[in-house]
């Protein structure tokens, strides 16, 4: 991966004063309508998930046999009810919490662990590098979906197991990116200059290396969030993730799947939520990549 950190000259002219790298990135993001829109959607989704206990009109787990599969726009149930007569709006709000936690946590874990391992392998090199990277290669023997399902399948259902299996999917990916960025930056002369000035490994990694590899790693991690959310919901969809009666988008989609002959719209709603969230994350990471000018 080539990392381009130089910014176009005209930006300086526009901005007047010199800007730090991250300020320039922020400045660019703030002028990108698609990214801003995606960001706004995500803020909205995150807020509604966070405030679900106060926003949800009903108890997400309280059903009613008489009010099963009410249509969208039904009186008192804005988004209808599910196969057990539970309010869809309330369940979608609550479900967002689970899906977001199950989708974001693995990428976060992978970002931290993967950066640590990748920088270690890239900076130390030699046998350490071979050991770390060949181990990561093993996980590349499985397509992401298969690996997640295999590990979850063996571990059994439940949110903690979902987090473990998805983290195992994403850590090796981040390690690869972190390692290659580290190797590239390590070869640059400013690292040699820092060594020549007598700086120890710690100071070099902290002040010179991390500042220059975290950006590309962050961009890469952001591209994985959408996949992680789709997989997290997918595991629940297969019955391998969050367990009933908890509200989770993938789980809801699976439960409602049998009801498509009765009500064609309500069963689609949890999928819409997954889709919108995943697409917003994709647009956001596209915008971030453009703003940081990283070419894969």
């Amino acid at each position: 991966m080539a990392i381009t950190t130089t910014l176009p000259r005209e930006l300086d002219a526009v901005a007047g004063a010199p800007m730090s790298y991250w300020r320039t990135v922020g400045w660019r993001l703030a002028r990108d309508p698609a990214t801003l829109a995606a960001g706004a959607v995500l803020v909205l989704i995150a807020l509604s998930a966070l405030l679900a206990p106060w926003l949800a009109p009903y108890d997400p787990n309280a059903g009613s046999i008489r009010l099963r599969l009410a249509f969208v726009g039904a009186p008192a149930h804005l988004l209808g009810t599910d196969e057990q007569g539970r309010d869809m709006l309330s369940r979608l709000l609550w479900g967002g919490r689970m899906t977001l936690v199950a989708g974001l946590t693995p990428v976060l874990v992978a970002f931290v662990l993967g950066t640590g391992l990748g920088v270690l392998a890239g900076y130390v090199g030699g046998l350490t590098n071979t050991l770390v990277m060949r181990t990561m290669d093993i996980f590349y023997a499985f397509p992401a979906v298969l690996l997640a399902i295999a590990i979850s399948g063996a571990l059994g259902p439940g949110l903690p197991n979902t987090l473990i299996s998805l983290s195992i999917v994403f850590v090796p990916r981040v390690v690869r990116v972190a390692e290659s960025a580290t190797v590239q930056v390590k070869g640059l002369e400013y690292i040699a200059a820092a060594r020549a000035s007598g700086a120890g490994v710690g100071a070099i990694v902290r002040h010179h290396l991390l500042a220059n590899v975290l950006g590309p790693i962050l961009v890469f991690a952001s591209t994985q969030v959408s996949l992680s959310i789709i997989l997290a919901a997918g595991l629940s969809f297969l019955g391998l993730g969050v367990t009933p009666p908890a509200a989770e988008w993938g789980l809801m989609l699976n439960a409602l799947r049998q009801s498509i002959y009765v009500n064609a719209v309500v069963p689609a709603l949890p999928g819409v939520a997954i889709f919108v969230t995943s697409m917003a994350f994709n647009l956001l990471s596209d915008g971030l990549r453009d703003a940081m000018e990283i070419r894969a």
Partner: protein, 337 residues
């Protein structure tokens, strides 16, 4: 042997060697070695400038990094102020690094894009325990000295500067620790001619002001002639000739040195193209020719040149050459270093 006063050398390099393995094949076995630096010896005396000249790929940059122990040599010693650099413990090495600094060739890759230039310069001081505020003040003062007004440029980032300005930052960064020795690895070769002259003059002024000692590495003979007192000519990892800049300019001995001078553009109309210019590219340092490494491009090559490498022979006062052509002339007994 030292210029003037007979002081002991500041830097003594003896038999320095670095071969890089080339791996390949199914099992990534080492099948060849790049002989980047092969048995190089020289001394540098306080306050002189030793120029090291040679074509690209002759091992100059590797030599610079070996002197500063940024890479470990396979053999040979480097003594700085009489102290064996290779034997230095990590704390001692850290202290030594304050006294010997390096200015890099590439003004773009040598500055951290995430640091303001005053932070880049101050970093070295902070590493050595100077308080942050003081380090920044000293960095700003030094930036001013190298011609970058700290009020205008101090908070800028490297990408906002021109190549010449970046190279001034690099010089400031190298000098902020008050080193005694500065190794300059092609410090101006990436710059425009007009900017080159400004940076060279700055380096000359700083040297005089701070009583610095320079090892100045370049492929550009004009630059080397301009800055150096003594010159070392390298070819494929080996020293082929060494002498004062004047001696080399007036009577280069080694056919390679002669060719270098012949191919360097000269402004003097009486001093043009008397000798054969260099033809072709230097052979691959992976598999250098046997005997004298220059023989494949040499107009005077003899059968014996292929048999054993010639050793450095004194051919004049402080003038040595490694070439069989001068065996008869080699009268001055004492080797130069």
């Amino acid at each position: 042997m030292s210029p003037g006063n007979g002081a002991p050398p500041l830097l003594e390099v003896r038999g320095l060697r670095k071969h890089f393995p080339l791996r390949g094949g199914v099992f990534q076995r080492t099948h060849a070695w790049v002989r980047a630096v092969d048995g190089v010896s020289f001394d540098v005396y306080p306050t002189e400038t030793l120029g090291i000249v040679g074509e690209s790929g002759c091992g100059k940059s590797t030599l610079a990094r070996l002197i500063l122990r940024l890479i470990e040599p396979d053999a040979g010693t480097v003594r700085f102020g009489g102290e064996d650099v290779r034997a230095a413990t990590p704390p001692r090495m850290k202290r030594l690094r304050r006294d010997m600094q390096l200015v890099f060739q590439d003004p773009y890759a040598s500055l951290n894009p995430r640091l303001t230039i005053e932070d880049a310069v101050a970093f070295s001081l902070i590493v050595h325990g100077t308080p942050r505020a003081e380090a920044r003040d000293r960095a700003r003062a030094l930036l001013g000295r190298v011609g970058l007004d700290p009020r205008l440029y101090g908070r800028r980032y490297a990408h906002e500067l021109s190549g010449g300005q970046r190279q001034r930052v690099n010089i400031a960064r190298a000098l902020v620790l008050d080193p005694k020795l500065l190794v300059l690895d092609e410090p101006v070769s990436a710059l425009d001619k007009s900017v080159q002259a400004q940076v060279l003059n700055l380096l000359q002024d700083l040297k005089a002001e701070r009583a610095l000692t320079y090892v100045f590495i370049s492929h550009d003979l004009n630059v080397i002639e301009y800055v150096s007192g003594r010159v070392l000519v390298m070819y494929l990892g080996e020293v082929v000739e060494t002498g004062t800049a004047d001696a080399l300019a007036q009577s280069p001995k080694h056919p390679y040195t002669q060719a270098l001078f012949a191919s360097a553009p000269s402004l003097d109309p009486d001093h043009r193209m008397e000798r054969p210019p260099l033809a072709g590219d230097p052979p691959n340092p992976i598999d250098p020719p046997s005997g004298c490494r220059f023989r494949t491009r040499c107009a005077f090559a003899m059968p014996r040149c292929a048999q054993a490498p010639p050793t450095l022979l004194a051919v004049g006062a402080r003038h040595e050459v490694a070439c069989y052509l001068y065996e008869a002339e080699a009268t001055v007994a004492a080797p130069a270093c």
